[in-house]
């Protein structure tokens, strides 16, 4: 199974600033996803990131607010721009592992817990 790490694990930021979250996978994967989990709530998909193409954003999320990079098959970043307290959430990346016959199984990173003051 894919092993995913995220940096930072948590951060406290001031409003108006930006934070870039890194997601590193120990194997090459085609599909990477970014989710947001607001306090006490379920996960909401922000965008799908494929290597070599622009990220695909879900309704309610825009590239200017959440720019994503996917420079290779093992790495992605999500930036939370011009933050406000409403952006306080856990941000999780996940990958779809289709390389070992485990297609359609998503593996999740440990998450980045963001608090915006």
């Amino acid at each position: 199974s894919a092993v995913i790490s995220q940096k930072p694990s948590r951060d406290i930021c001031q409003r108006g600033t930006s934070l870039t979250i890194q997601c590193q996978v120990d194997s090459q994967v085609t599909m990477m996803f970014w989710y947001r989990q607001q306090p006490g709530q379920s996960l909401t998909l922000i965008a799908t990131a494929n290597q070599g193409s622009e990220a695909t954003y879900e309704s309610g999320f825009v590239i200017d607010k959440f720019p994503i990079s996917r420079p290779n098959l093992t790495f992605s970043t999500l930036t939370v721009s011009n933050m406000s307290p409403e952006d306080s959430s856990i941000y999780l990346c996940s990958v779809e592992d289709g390389t070992s016959g485990r297609y359609n199984e998503q593996f999740f990173g440990p998450g980045t817990r963001l608090t915006v003051l």
Partner: protein
């Protein structure tokens, strides 16, 4: 579009008692179904999944779930819970016909609280 409803936001239960966490979904197409567990301050871990075949699926930690197509349900069960099962449980679906990969739609989550 698809949606997932977890009928209980919290389920308190005593240790060694059986438990059922309910999940219903709506979709106009066939779906894959998943249960994930999130322990405090951790990421999500896959408990089990239904892709095809037998409607009774067994997962890790003694959990199982049954896919019921006519009732569009995928309830999670465990015959005897432990204190260590205290966690948040998420039901999720993925559209078989989605060409953009395995995008998951999550339910609202059920907090399982196991009491001694």
């Amino acid at each position: 579009a698809q949606s997932v409803t977890q009928l209980d936001s919290q389920v308190p239960v005593f240790e060694e008692a059986p438990v059922e966490l309910r999940c219903n979904y709506s979709s106009s197409v066939s779906v894959y179904l998943f249960w994930y567990v999130q322990y405090p301050n951790q990421g999500l871990q896959l408990l089990l999944k239904y892709l095809s075949g037998s409607t009774l699926v067994k997962g890790i930690n003694g959990f199982e779930a049954e896919f019921n197509k006519s009732q569009t349900s995928f309830h999670l069960r465990k015959p005897s819970v432990h204190i260590s099962d205290t966690a948040e449980y998420f039901c999720a679906v993925s559209d078989l016909n989605n060409n953009a990969g395995n995008m998951l739609t999550f339910g609202g989550g059920t907090r399982l609280m196991v009491k001694p």
